[in-house]
């Protein structure tokens, strides 16, 4: 990166053309399937409560609104459209996540998010596979449960292992004192990142499914082989996490509780609590149709299309040059 003068883009002109082709492909894909393109605010009055996402604060002041957040995903706004009767919708948007910068991260990135009323997680996974495999011209994905993936590569059962066993397994990467404040899900995230992910989808993509209920986020939870699992899926190719989807939680009471749990976790880890988006909850109270939804990173999709390993190569100006 540093060899180019700082005013120059980090993406080549050939990559810019591929980016434009990718956008045209995505729009064609959804037009053919009758999914409506929508636009929702990038700047909102509320941010997410998610304990591991840090929204970027904005100092906006207008018409009585003071302060806002650049959105980490268009999820709440799009669900409000669904509750208002929009039907199948998709959006290509810029989203913002503070502190995230690396070979696969930039604090501002391009996200493709879409929702399908009456789809289950399995039906939406089939549509994700259509889109990704058409564009990348690759084989259809395999499917592997979170539990089997963890057992195969991290050598622990994420549902049965005691906290003590999980922590000991993590000592390959972290000192015992670093592990103290990490918690069970933090340990699982560490093992997922360092022991499992690099092995996922070397040739063809792979869906990881049936996440622990504690990592459900906004997905429905049901019992599977005697343990509660989230109807959440992610797609990986060449060790790169490409998308995250849910069979969406529609129960407003449960959603309220999850927001409160999130804020408790934020407080415990020293992060500011986030105000709960009452407009989103009001939409759920009114009735979010049964649906499945997914968010897919377009920058990473383009990296995989072009065989590039650094996100800067597909961005015009990553944060340091923006």
């Amino acid at each position: 990166m540093s060899e180019k003068p700082a005013w120059r883009p980090t993406a080549s002109m050939a990559v810019l053309k591929s980016r434009a082709q990718q956008l045209a492909f995505v729009r064609g894909f959804f037009a053919e399937r009758g999914v409506l393109e929508v636009e929702t605010p990038a700047l909102g009055r509320f941010g997410v409560t998610d304990p591991n996402l840090d929204p970027v604060a904005a100092t906006v002041s207008a018409s009585g609104v003071r302060g806002g957040w650049l959105q980490t995903s268009p999820e709440y706004h799009m669900k409000r459209l669904l509750a208002a009767g929009a039907g199948s919708i998709y959006q290509v948007s810029r989203v913002f996540r503070d502190g995230e910068r690396g070979r696969r991260h930039n604090p501002e990135f391009s996200m493709l998010e879409w929702y399908r009323p009456d789809f289950s997680d399995n039906e939406l996974m089939a549509e994700v596979a259509d889109l990704v495999c058409d564009w990348l011209d690759c084989e259809r994905p395999d499917t592997l449960s979170y539990r089997d993936a963890m057992i195969a590569w991290a050598h622990v059962d994420p549902f049965e292992a005691t906290d003590c066993i999980l922590r000991r397994r993590c000592e390959e990467w972290l000192e015992p004192e670093q592990l103290a404040g990490l918690g069970r899900d933090g340990c699982l995230d560490l093992l997922m990142s360092f022991a499992v992910e690099p092995n996922l989808g070397p040739e063809r993509p792979v869906f990881i499914t049936s996440y622990p209920a504690s990592q459900a986020s906004l997905a429905k939870i049901s019992m599977e082989s005697g343990v509660p699992v989230a109807h959440r899926f992610e797609l990986y190719l060449k060790g790169i996490e490409l998308c995250n989807g849910y069979w969406e939680l529609t129960n407003p009471e449960e959603q309220r509780q999850r927001f409160q749990v999130d804020n408790r976790l934020r407080r415990a880890s020293g992060k500011p609590e986030m105000a709960i988006d009452d407009a989103f909850l009001a939409a759920l109270d009114e009735g979010l149709p049964e649906c499945a939804g997914v968010a897919l990173g377009l920058d990473r999709l383009l990296m995989l299309k072009l065989g590039l390993t650094d996100i800067a190569e597909v961005l015009t100006f990553p944060l340091e040059r923006a």
């Binding site: 998610d50 591991n52 995230e100 670093q178 990490l182 933090g186 560490l190 990592q215 995250n244």
Partner: protein, 191 residues
């Protein structure tokens, strides 16, 4: 003492780890979309020169190490220490011990300028310039007509370094030597 949080980590940053000064070589940010973020960091321990790989939770901090590189002129050795003087106009002098001087000892010529890395104000390492010019003090006699091609022979330089040189090199000549490879580059002048 200042400290750096993981999102300030970048190549070249000097930090304290396990009590030793280290330089960050690589910093990789790893995070599952909805999960905990980590930084996988490669650092070189400046005391031992060993490369360490460590993982940090995002938000963890490391203390900054008071490590600076400074140009200094080599003055003399008293047998125990090698004395250097800052070229920034302060004329401040610093004694470097054998550990700090290390292999650089064989390239030390009085009045030449070296990079001295100071840790808490004391020399930690001494790095020679990429090229030095040194006089040959001992080598087998040169053979007439032996010019560009042909074999090589060892030559001892004024600092004690021994380098392989072409057969035509004679005692008293000044040679340009690459300190990274220890190889002869060319003759600078004939005496």
């Amino acid at each position: 003492m200042a400290s750096y949080s993981t999102n300030e980590f970048r190549g070249g940053l000097k930090v304290l780890l396990d009590g030793d000064p280290c330089i960050i070589l690589e910093n990789e940010f790893v995070k599952p979309g909805k999960g905990q973020a980590f930084n996988r960091v490669k650092l070189r321990n400046l005391m031992t020169n060993r490369v360490w790989e460590r993982t940090f939770k995002s938000g963890e901090t490391l203390e900054s190490a008071d490590v600076i590189d400074q140009d200094m002129e080599y003055l003399y050795s008293d047998g125990e220490f090698w004395h250097f003087m800052a070229t920034d106009g302060s004329f401040e002098q610093f004694p470097a011990d054998a550990k700090a001087v290390g292999d650089t000892v064989k390239w030390l010529k009085e009045q030449d300028v070296y990079t001295v890395t100071l840790y808490n104000g004391s020399p930690l390492t001494v790095t020679p310039p990429n090229f030095v010019e040194l006089e040959v003090v001992d080598t087998d006699p040169g053979m007439k007509g032996d010019t560009a091609q042909g074999g090589s022979k060892p030559a001892t330089l004024s600092t004690g370094a021994v380098v392989n040189v072409p057969l035509f090199i004679t005692i008293g000549e000044v040679l340009k030597v690459d300190t990274r490879s220890g190889e002869y580059v060319n003759r600078v002048k004939s005496s």
